[in-house]
Symmetry: C2
Subunit: 294 residues, 2 copies
């Protein structure tokens, strides 16, 4: 229970609702793991969950940042870069299991309804089995289950097992994602990092913008990480939203096992080569153990 | 009409339908620019438009690859990397103007309906003006206009001017995207590059995967571009869809003004440092001149 201290201070944890989403499944798991100190509060969107933690309406929030099939969750990255001042307290690696849910298993399926990310995670399955079906995108996997439960004709939802339980739907097909390694990384965000730094942090995230008009500016920055022998686990570019061809970068790097000194030096060196740099703090990585995953 | 030769050979151009999408607007512009040699054929999804060009059902296709606000179009990148063998023949830079369209301007708006990319491009406007509205995601901006025209109550579509004309809707508010520099890059794809290489190519796209388990492998590749003084205009990472933490990269680089020799050497050097590399061909960049843009 190494985050128990934080759990006791924090009381409201925001997540992407409604109840039944993969986010809720993962948030329940994390809350149990850390001693059930939080009251879970669903928000209508990832943006609103993050903003609530930033504005103090929630003590922290728990949002997806990357899926192994569909890639980074852009609204999370963009909100962290542009709109709020939060730190990452931990990462949870969560195996996602998508199910095909129906109300009446005798009905022919002509519509598949889900969140765009879940539809994208199941592209191959859909092409193989329901290539003629209309794809209906909604705001969450749980909402898709809700719509099917409400009686939409000839429709199947792609959603979590928990959604099937909540909305009393039949699982027609399970684990329909494109491969068995469908994993989502969630991050826990709050205003501070203080309590967490007592545990063993494994990673940090840096958000920055270089002078993109200069050839080789990204290469120069990566060379600093290489110079200090810092291993990068992920790089993502996102538009600055101001001008075509101008990007900001998200670097996730490992904390060296032999101490943080090299990392601190590398960050300082990188910062000198950037217009601006946002340090998201050091955090531990926890791998959920209740599911099959690699 | 420097692509006229290609236009005469090619007869069917696939794009993301239905009629009225931003893609159709841009495809009509390009077709006019190049001598109206193509019959435009709408496809239900970007994937299907690209697959049609790959399988010979269409002679070429015209799909979005990046938006200046929302970023890369992932389905385009993933399909190019995994599923087809096509070359980029040209790029068109297109200013996107999102409009708020309604059937009856006296009705209160409680629902905003559009493609997820368009909703994302207008995040700030929505937050300022319709923060309580329900966001409804559909498969295209044109389909959103169609739904509103069909009589959905209290709903407004975010779509193109052309959609307003086609579906006889009222423009309640125009240019509602988050900033004035909302630009989409489209690419024209076909099986060959031969005819196009006679024109002046400005860029190329390379797709590759390095040994991500080796620290500094991305840095090594970027160093090759730097060594040959090749300017990179965009880098994008995408999951390989096989395992969390394994990525492929999309590099867009400029063709040197003083000849292609350095570029060819750089590509050969980069290829040696990759598991695999896919060269998407050299292509010219055309900036659409019928719209305000930077």
């Amino acid at each position: 229970m190494f985050l128990g201290g934080v759990g006791r201070i924090m009381s409201v944890l925001g997540f992407l609702g409604p109840n039944g989403t993969h986010s809720e499944e993962a948030a329940i798991y994390m809350n149990t793991l850390l001693g059930n100190n939080w009251v879970l509060k669903p928000y209508r969107s990832i943006y609103e969950a993050i903003a609530a933690a930033d504005e103090g309406e929630a003590d922290c929030c728990f949002v997806p940042v990357e899926n192994s099939i569909e890639g980074s969750v852009r609204i999370t990255l963009d909100t962290l870069a542009h709109d709020v001042d939060l730190k990452i307290n931990m990462e949870l690696v969560w195996a996602v299991h998508n199910q095909l849910l129906v109300k009446d298993s005798r009905e022919k399926i002509t519509k598949l309804i889900s969140h765009p990310q879940a539809l994208a995670q199941c592209r191959k399955y859909i092409k193989m089995n329901y290539s003629a079906a209309e794809l209906v995108e909604v705001s969450s996997t749980a909402h898709a289950a809700e719509v099917v439960a409400a009686g939409m004709k000839n429709a199947a939802a792609i959603a979590s097992k928990r959604s099937a339980d909540i909305y009393n739907l039949t699982v027609l097909d399970k684990d329909i994602q494109d491969n068995c390694d469908n994993v989502t990384r969630f991050i826990l965000l709050s205003k501070t990092t203080s309590s967490i730094n007592k545990t063993d942090p494994e990673k940090t995230m840096l958000i920055c913008q270089m002078d993109g008009s200069k050839a080789g500016s990204l290469c120069d920055v990566l060379a600093e990480f290489a110079k200090y022998n810092i291993n990068m686990t992920h790089i993502e570019s996102r538009p600055t939203r101001m001008q075509l061809g101008r990007y900001m970068f998200f670097f996730e790097v490992e904390v060296p096992l032999d101490g943080r000194e090299r990392l601190i030096k590398a960050i300082a060196a990188v910062k000198k080569k950037c217009f601006w740099l946002k340090d998201m703090g050091l955090f531990p990585v926890i791998k959920a153990e209740n599911k099959k995953w690699r």
